[in-house]
């Protein structure tokens, strides 16, 4: 596992460089290249790892809480809200007026608004998995429609940037943003790991977990809040990267079992590794063009589900 981590990081550091540049890194490092690695590649690797870990850990928890193996952070409409926030900030050109952190900030606000709407809609009566998923889908469709409307109305020059962001991109980053996002996501993952016992009990069914002395509604709200916060943070720095929160936890469960004290950390680790590998592929495949990472995760996700479908039929 450590080998995989090292290999992944080394590949992510050197991918796209010329062979002579890679050789020189180990013999006599060029100052410019070292600065590029220090100020661009390493922060990008940190962001990718944080994003992958956050999305996978959240997906793992949501699949249990919503009792649905197809649930992922974006099921609850958070990405729709974030995308809406971004497109509005780009449409009104807020980044040039307020500052370049405006885009992630607007994405965060959008995600939080959608999270609040889903919370209010699903907590009107007693908690129900289906109500929550349905509320998430409604919110997602509403925000996607607003996003598409804004997309149609937006000027041509912002279209490429918006499209790139919608497909998942790590092009906007800032040291302060990385520190804040890392702090939120890592604290969130720790809180999720600490909730492993509750999640294991929730797995047994609502009636059974209630008799263990678990306040289901309070715990579900708490877990929903933490996963939403992680997703909102991650989406605001990386854009919409689908499938990571869906595939990685499912693979981890099939390998490591269902005990959350094991699968949450393993999902976080594997999610980070998976996304890092996807980024390396997206950089290499049409070099020097860097593909939006979401394209790679979506293709791999599609292949994964096709494989599952074929395997089930056989």
């Amino acid at each position: 596992m450590l080998f995989l981590l090292i290999l992944n990081i080394v590949l992510a550091l050197v991918v796209g460089f010329d062979k002579t540049v890679v050789k020189s890194l180990f013999i006599h490092a060029n100052k410019n290249i070292m600065q590029m690695i220090k100020y661009i590649r390493i922060p990008k690797i940190i962001m990718i790892c944080i994003t992958g870990a956050g999305l996978s850990a959240s997906g793992c928890v949501l699949q249990t809480v919503l009792n649905n193996p197809l649930a992922e952070p974006f099921t609850l409409g958070i990405s729709g809200g974030a995308a809406c926030g971004v497109i509005i900030s780009l449409l009104f050109n807020l980044s040039s007026r307020v500052g370049f952190l405006t885009v992630p900030f607007c994405a965060f606000i959008g995600a939080i608004i959608s999270m609040l709407i889903v919370s209010i809609l699903s907590s009107r009566k007693t908690f129900n998995h289906h109500t929550m998923i349905l509320s998430g889908m409604i919110v997602s469709y509403m925000f996607t429609s607003i996003t598409l409307l804004a997309f149609v109305l937006s000027p041509m020059d912002t279209l490429y940037m918006t499209f790139n962001w919608l497909m998942g991109s790590f092009s906007i980053f800032d040291e302060r943003l990385i520190i804040i996002a890392s702090a939120i996501v890592l604290s969130g993952i720790i809180l999720l790991i600490l909730s492993s016992n509750v999640l294991n009990a929730i797995y047994l069914g609502t009636d059974k977990s209630k008799t263990f002395g678990i306040n289901i509604e309070r715990n579900v709200k708490f877990l929903f809040f933490v996963t939403s916060l992680i997703t909102a943070t991650v989406v605001s720095i990386s854009g919409i990267i689908g499938f990571v929160g869906l595939i990685v936890p499912n693979i981890c469960k099939s390998i490591f079992g269902d005990n959350h004290s094991i699968i949450i950390p393993m999902s976080a680790y594997s999610g980070a590794m998976f996304l890092l590998a996807c980024d390396t592929i997206s950089t290499m495949i049409f070099s020097p063009i860097i593909l939006p990472i979401g394209i790679i995760t979506n293709i791999l996700g599609g292949i994964f589900f096709l494989f599952l479908l074929i395997q089930k039929k056989t």
């Binding site: 009566k125 009636d207 008799t211 678990i214």
Partner: protein
Amino acid sequence: MIQVQNVYAKYINNTNILKNCSFTINNKDFVGIIGKNGAGKSTLLKVLCRILKPYLGNICIEYQDIQNLHIKDLARKIAFLPQYVNTNLSFSVFDFILLGRYPYMNTLKWPSQNDYNIVNQIIDLLHLYKLTNKQINQLSYGETQKVLIGQVIAQQTDIIIFDEPTAHLDIGSQNKILKCIKQLNEKYNKTIILTLHDLNIASEFCNKLILLNNGMICKQGTPLEIFQCGIIEKIYNIQFVIGTNPISNKPYLVPIN
């Protein structure tokens, strides 16, 4: 002691399921709740465990209203095995039983050595040694039921409630499970409340029966009192002959065609 006083309960947007139910269960009792499908047996158990809140009446354990108890304190007094528990999970039998220790844990308090020791004792008690490292989703129905009983024992409560613990089991497995529950009652002084469909098995194992019909308690008493009162014939719409088991001296029913 459990005191149920004039309890009325219903599900959201539903008609009354339980109507004016009152009874008392003493410590160390082995109580069977019997009745037709849809009589309200499972609902009564859910009300006793506070999964469903009655809209009228109250339930007291040792003169304390369960609605006033903290949810974790209640989980240390009553353990419940519902009809449906998700066992399609990749948990080892040991870890699965350990989940029953949840009422003694919290976010920052994970399983202690004491919890592990308790689980090992339960594995000894139920003779589950061979299954300890097996995954719960690989067990037979009877084995799974035994592990689920292990999980409720792990809660270390004085009252244990089972909702049809012998459903879908063959007669041999039914006997094994009920003997195991009887052992909890006799050897470990647990108060047992369970729902059963088989009246003869209920008579054989329970010292008190509560007969439910349309959400109301029709009769409560010893199996013989219940069988002789004549209500069973009306509820089940079938004629019976009452006999006595020559070994256990417990009454049994034989339907007449």
